[in-house]
């Protein structure tokens, strides 16, 4: 598990989460284009994490719970597009709230990925 990728994902997720809360408070929906650009960057990093994670899993000597690890890698990647889709369908504060749920899910996945990887050591 690359610590730098993990840190980058968490930093971007935190930034997006703060932005989301601001939008919810201001009742601004649907989210602006710059916001979706940030989500796009996060999605690209998550895609990189999937690739990097799979490679690392293949190369490692550690006894990592592979199935669960891969499941979390893909969940973290896929939850954002689904959340963004829902936010565009529901153009209210609640739709934006879905994005917050998605971002918290990403953060939870990252925490699980890290603990699964560490537990394998």
């Amino acid at each position: 598990m690359n610590v730098w990728v993990l840190g980058l994902v968490l930093a971007l997720t935190a930034a997006a989460a703060v932005w989301t809360v601001v939008m919810i408070v201001r009742d601004q929906s649907p989210p602006s284009d710059p916001y979706f650009a940030l989500l796009g960057v996060l999605a690209l990093v998550l895609l990189g994490q999937v690739v990097g994670g799979l490679v690392a899993l293949g190369a490692t000597e550690r006894d990592v719970d592979g199935i669960t690890f891969v499941a979390y890698l893909f969940t973290a990647l896929l939850v954002l597009p689904v959340g963004a889709g829902l936010a565009l369908v529901e153009r209210t504060r609640w739709g934006t709230g879905v994005l917050l749920v998605a971002l918290i899910t990403v953060a939870a996945c990252e925490a699980r990925l890290q603990s699964i990887w560490t537990a394998g050591g």
């Binding site: 669960t68 499941a71 609640w94 739709g95 749920v101 899910t105 939870a108």
Partner: protein
Amino acid sequence: MASREQAPRPSIDELSSGPGRILVAVYGVFAVAATGRSLVQLGVDAEKAPLAYSLSLLAAVVYLAATTCLLLGGRRAWSAAVAACSVEAVGVLVVGTLSYLATDLFPDKTVWSHFGQGYGFLPLLLPFAGLAWLRHTSPSRLG
């Protein structure tokens, strides 16, 4: 807040709109999480903790049912969603209590162990949020 009061009461056909979207999102995440967990547990080592793993599968089915019902909307889906949320509420309370009192019953964790501690206690909160939303959209109140 005046505009909010004048907003049309959510229809039973729109269980997944407005606040319902949040519920659908959270239920969807838990449906995926519980399904994934139970499939991995049952697939890898079903003998280790049959009761815990069966409960994981039950939780997965309940979450999937609740997600589907919210998405479908309508009177029958509403009733089914009430049933799903009730099973969920009972499940998390019973399993949560048992996981503290009868630890030997649960050699491995389920989604509902320790009132959903491994999932930020959301499994404890979710059925009641669901029931509150369903009460809000209740057909009898729509008249």
